[in-house]
Symmetry: none
Subunit: 226 residues, 2 copies
């Protein structure tokens, strides 16, 4: 069974809060609410939401401030923040992004759109599984945001499959991933490719990164060398 997702909704208007809460609960989400930024931070500490839905416009501490604050706390690195913005506030798009928001939804809120969007956003979050979008292992840094890999300060460009494959291996350094597992994660269930395909991709990664990062365990699979 799937674990219910936790969403914290923050708005100073109780009408909107109720309206959103109602719709989210109906959809099966666990919902907590807060009336302002300070409260939001407080509640987050115990509720540990997967996602925070944050109204940009709030008295006292507005959404952007709140977002910047929350994102500065390491414990919330994995928490997605989505803004609710009035349609005309383009300004908040930039300011919001710069404050570290992950997405935004424009008011007025239509229930269907809200739900669809949140589902999509959470699915994306799942997929990225990222936590922080940066994964650091030894002198290798893998950045999902920019789709770049760094060896020390050298920037290295990988193709998509190479990137996903490296990302998978690096997500658990030292662990051996079987070919089957790799196929399933990087290629998906339906895709059927020949075994040698993985080898070729591994080779290309080695070519670009150097030979010392990915190890072969004969008869089992590949691993990221610690």
């Amino acid at each position: 069974m799937e674990i219910a997702r936790k969403i914290l909704v923050v708005d100073d208007e109780s009408d909107i809060l109720d309206f959103i809460t109602y719709n989210l609960k109906k959809e099966g989400y666990l919902v907590a609410t807060a009336f302002n930024g300070a409260q939001a931070i407080e509640v987050s500490k115990t509720f540990k939401p997967d996602l925070i839905l944050l109204d940009v416009m709030m008295p006292v501490m507005d959404g952007i401030e709140t977002c910047a604050h929350i994102k500065s706390l390491p414990e919330f690195a994995k928490t997605f923040i989505v803004f609710l913005t009035a349609r005309s506030e383009e300004y908040s798009e930039i300011a919001g992004f710069q404050a570290g928001a992950d997405d935004y939804i424009a008011k007025p809120i239509k229930p269907k759109v809200l739900i669809t969007r949140l589902n999509a956003i959470l699915r994306r979050k799942d997929k990225e599984e990222t936590a922080s979008t940066k994964l650091v292992v030894g002198d290798i840094t893998i950045d999902r945001d920019s789709f770049l890999v760094y060896r020390g300060s050298d920037k290295i460009q990988l193709a998509r499959k190479e990137f996903e494959l490296l990302f998978l291996l690096a997500s658990k350094p030292g662990k051996v991933f079987t070919r089957d597992f790799i196929l399933e994660k990087v290629w998906g269930d339906e895709v059927l490719v020949v075994d040698r395909t993985i080898d070729v991709h591994i080779r290309k990664i080695r070519e670009k990164l150097g030979d010392d990062y990915i190890g072969t365990v004969k008869g089992v699979g590949y691993k990221f060398e610690i």
Copy 2:
């Protein structure tokens, strides 16, 4: 010292007009009133309000028409319009946003709520005005006010979609934006355009700015190169 903010209140019921005016004046706002849309437009021309509080439901020319009309006049581009709506009107049904409204307040009006919200809205407006609407990334400056882009000191004109697209990418330089995300943000939910449309716009931007600013990540999306 701060300059007093000017608010124009528009409602066909003089009771409500008086009530709101009283509360706003007490708070230190400069207030003008109008009984209908036509009058509102007339008064706005000389009074130049920072914000217009507009009842949705009015005889003759209703709030939505009025709003659309006012927003179509360039001199009022920076004027905020806030609707007064009856509680029963679902958020989803508020057509006001399509007409360009910036926010809304639900009736019945509680003085405290009214003041708090208006303060918040005006505070945001302040921020938008002072916070330069300029986004600077490397030698590119993007100015939302004038809809202009500068490369160094060269002025470059982009068409609307090109501008929005560049603006989105530049709001998180380095981050890769997927095509889906771009479509959603620049074109909106309902609009359905073909994939190649994005490419064409990207091409036009590159044509005008140069090839080095927007990068392609095959299979993923586009990014603004840092």
